[in-house]
Symmetry: D2
Subunit: 347 residues, 4 copies
């Protein structure tokens, strides 16, 4: 049995982690922290857990005393906080999976530019393994500290991975137009996330300025082994969960659908969670809701010599808590999909 | 291993059954029928099942030939069809759980009045056990044919059960005002179920004329052991899943919240799926979504001497496929919640 | 030209008032106050007004200095505030239409019980006219201070008015089950109004304790000329705008649909905004969205001898700003529907 | 008074036309046709019109007999039908504004390729004026037959117009990623438009194959005076109304935000319906809902040397019926915004 602790358990990603870990046969949640629901039973934060998970939330400040009870620590905290909380001593005692952005960028200066914060533990950046499970599997298995990827980087990077690796697309031509459900904004109470403000509308946000941009670029650059700059525009759409990325790139030379399809299948044939769909069938977020799948397909637009790649995930699962559990499975030598075989919930 | 067949597998209730049975460790789905997706793989009906469940749908007409392959038959068919399909021979070979209304009313004349159909197998009405699991558990365990309850009857009857049984409320005073998500209308393509027609609106329908009325009355009459007539008004609200009933009744004599709460706890203390909430906390459909729970609470309005009872279910789970699986568990001697411990999905 | 000022212009009701007054040919908005958007142009609060209404919001504190510029003052403020702001001097200079609850209840003690506040200007309670336009038309025309009705009281009282007035229903039997869109909760940023918390769910709230209860009872008591106590349960449903009330009452003696229909037509035949629908057609909120109409219809349930009355309004229009403008029209001698003929927006 | 007839009045675009024409002080609707609601009063199709517009719908087949009653004919018909209905004789008697795609493409072969139909009246293609009001104003004023633009072409072409006209962007680099509400799919009853199928999901459709592609390309080619090929991907999002396009293009040379902003203001300074927003404020569909506005803004992404242009319309207004009325105003010498000053409805 893997004993787990969760810091920041009452945000949306933290809650999803609680759900998945409770449904995981090899895990026991020893404690959860929450400042908002401090000393309250968990079902006060989420009524769904009434009689299912009734632990009292403890304070972030208490977690170090309880570190010996656990084997793995999940941090589902605002940016800046986990970098301040995690240190070498903790990493000697437990494996850490950080769902925040703090350990995703290798360069602390880049971090400062995009997050506006001085990094609190730059000495750990080197050690942290970027937890894009399908791509960094070998390193994840040996890691003590995982930087769990952002939702946008997960969805877009996995969808372009074979193309980048095989050098099929012009790396200066990449445009990623993404659409996200509202849970990505978290449970913070600001006017712009109110029901009436989001419902019946859509908008772009963080235009050419979203913090996931350098994360996507860093990962794509590793894959392609060259410096990549992308255009990335996220949009907010009125759904609770779900993320769709539509990526555009110019093909370096003519390719048929089948040639490229074969590549995708070759790269992903062992990957339980990556579903490359049948020709002509494009991902829809409803078909992955509540699950850890990423659905991918593409079309070659011969009129413009571009490839259009579409991918869908549940932003809270594959885009956050699900991938965190997937990484935990890898780190503890479990089959990668343990506890993650939930069938998407529809409708 | 229980081998199962499903007739009418590609409606919303049928699909939910597929989901739950696939997640049930003791069940194997041997075959599914669908006229709409005949000879097509199941994921053509629901993309979520791509690489999860890729059986081809067979015809309703073929099912009798395949009856020997299965131990239990689920019929998730339009009203009238299962009464025509099921007969004594089939019941000798397999247990049948009918999710339609065909075997819910004991009197074929009442059936005709409300459904406008001559009942095709009235000789089976006596044998059929009404599958409200918490109430008819003993009979369900011995049953060969289950009439799986409607969503409204499930939600309202369980919420009033202790009050009716204990003769606490004036049985002429019962009013049930219900709110249902859109999946209750099924996957049929009619204009009134189009997104733009349902979204951003609410309405009552079947006012004083809904077919679940006699079903509710029959069950409540059994419980109270007297003839009960209710007022029942269903409303359509723009959510996929979820049902809330708000029931009003006059108290026969003064009772405190705690006195009645104790009764509920006494009746339901062994029931895994019935959650009587803490005082002041009222059911919300989001807290049961995707699960087989029914959440219940009530308030005594001293100003009017009425009790107001509120209950919430997922209409596709406890209101249909989940309760069907619960009944299957009972019929096959399994723990009642086997395969039904999914945590509600939120948000 | 009527010159208008609005205190609290950037809440949802305030904004709707701005929309309706800008579309009103006889009104000019001289100034608007907003503490949240103080000194900002109105389109910073609502982007829809860009280049349409670009006044700067002024402070609540400045309004008295500007009282000479206006003929009518609308207060769309939180409860308690308008009672503190309005006084005899102001009422000598301008007509006041208060959209808050401060002047709706005639008894300051009842106010204190339900609102938890000492009333700041009880001396004005007698003078205030309850602005249910269709019922109190004569008094409204002469009024200097209007207590603009709450959304629930408007929707339910108008729907039962002929029945109460004609003494057709048992006044102890009235149950009002109401459903409201989320804009009724206002633009305050609390977690329970976040998109993900409201979307895909429904719940009752304020069970047997909602503040509109005494307001409804007071108005119904006036109409019926006897003391009336009701059961009232509001529900939140995931739509921006719209309110539906389903009311139940026992008939004192048998009546046919047509007999009662005739009464409704008699009472409302001169009323532009009251639409009594054709038999068998029930109100839906989508058919009144964005308009000042109230749609009403009913069914007699002979099995239980009850009448079920259903009515629908747009809570921000007939339930707030629209009725305020309707009252203004009456007070200034304009045709009642001036500036209020907007056709409902669908889909 | 302009007398108007509408063929196909009970689709979503037809209904919006009814709404706008009823709110237009210079127009009288003489008759409307509908095959679905033949001989029924209009409120049977849309309950919102009860007591507002109660004409009976006549048959498409009768319209020629009634052509003398009208000055302008609107055709809101499926593709193929208006080309079959309109002819020279009709055009001699009345002005025609066709909301279908039949007269938008100048080349009948291109029409056949994308619409799969032989064009029924190719001799009219030359005469038809493409009704993008802001761009073709001079010709529209003199036109007898207007091809009212598609929603996607309207939204994207207006947003790029100054850039194309001024030759600022590389015309081979244009990518348009569009998001549309569900009303764009019309009121036809197919499973994919059901509430439960669309709600809580998003998807791309018509990937590199949507019929608006050649229409956009044709108009952009006229503007730029060179042959333009674009990548265009529409997405379906769960809102009733609203369309957002996010367009990407490479700048031919470095430009500042202000330089380009000045261009937009120069091109659109006389245009009532085009709102170029303040720097840093991006279009959201909620701010134009129910109105004829198009909101536009852009960002220059210096890292990639691209310009990202975002625009929002209400697909049923500026994207269909509103622009049709705008064109009618131009054709009849009325101020362009007559009857089109509705303030966006929010929330």
């Amino acid at each position: 049995m893997i004993n787990a602790g969760i810091i920041g358990s009452t945000g949306y990603a933290g809650q999803e982690l609680v759900r998945l870990l409770l449904e995981h046969k090899d895990v026991e949640i020893k404690w959860v922290t929450s400042n908002t629901y401090l000393n309250k039973t968990y079902n006060k934060a989420y009524g769904s857990y009434f009689r299912i998970f009734d632990q009292e939330c403890i304070s972030d400040n208490d977690f170090e005393n309880l570190i010996d009870e656990i084997d793995v620590l999940f941090t589902a905290t605002p940016h800046g906080l986990s970098a301040a909380l995690i240190n070498k001593e903790i990493l000697q005692k437990v494996k850490v999976i950080d769902l925040s952005a703090d350990f995703r960028l290798k360069d602390k200066d880049t971090y400062k530019v995009w997050y506006g914060l001085e990094h609190a533990s730059p000495e750990l950046l080197e050690e942290a393994v970027y937890g894009l499970s399908e791509i960094n599997k070998v390193d994840i298995k040996k890691a003590q500290l995982i930087a769990n990827p952002g939702c946008y980087p997960t969805c877009s990077t996995l969808s372009l991975f074979p193309l980048l690796k095989e050098d099929i697309i012009d790396e200066t031509s990449i445009i990623i137009d993404a659409k996200s459900g509202v849970s990505g904004a978290g449970r913070a109470n600001n006017v712009s996330s109110l029901y009436c403000e989001v419902n019946e509308s859509t908008k772009a946000y963080g235009v050419a300025a979203h913090r996931h941009t350098p994360e996507i670029e860093e990962q794509m650059s590793y894959i392609a082994n060259k410096d990549i700059k992308i255009s990335f525009t996220p949009h907010l759409i009125p759904i609770n969960r779900g993320m769709l990325t539509t990526s555009y790139a110019t093909l370096k030379k003519k390719k048929t659908y089948n040639e490229i399809k074969e590549l995708y299948e070759q790269y992903y044939k062992e990957e339980y969670f990556v579903r490359v769909l049948d020709e002509g069938v494009y991902p829809e977020t409803r078909w992955v809701e509540g699950s850890n799948f990423i659905d991918i397909n593409f079309k070659i637009d011969e009129r413009t010599n571009r490839i259009i790649v579409i991918s869908a995930i549940d932003n809270l699962v594959k885009g956050a808590a699900g991938q965190a559990v997937q990484n935990m499975n890898l780190m503890f030598g479990l089959p990668e999909n343990t506890g993650l075989k939930q069938i998407p919930l529809f409708p």
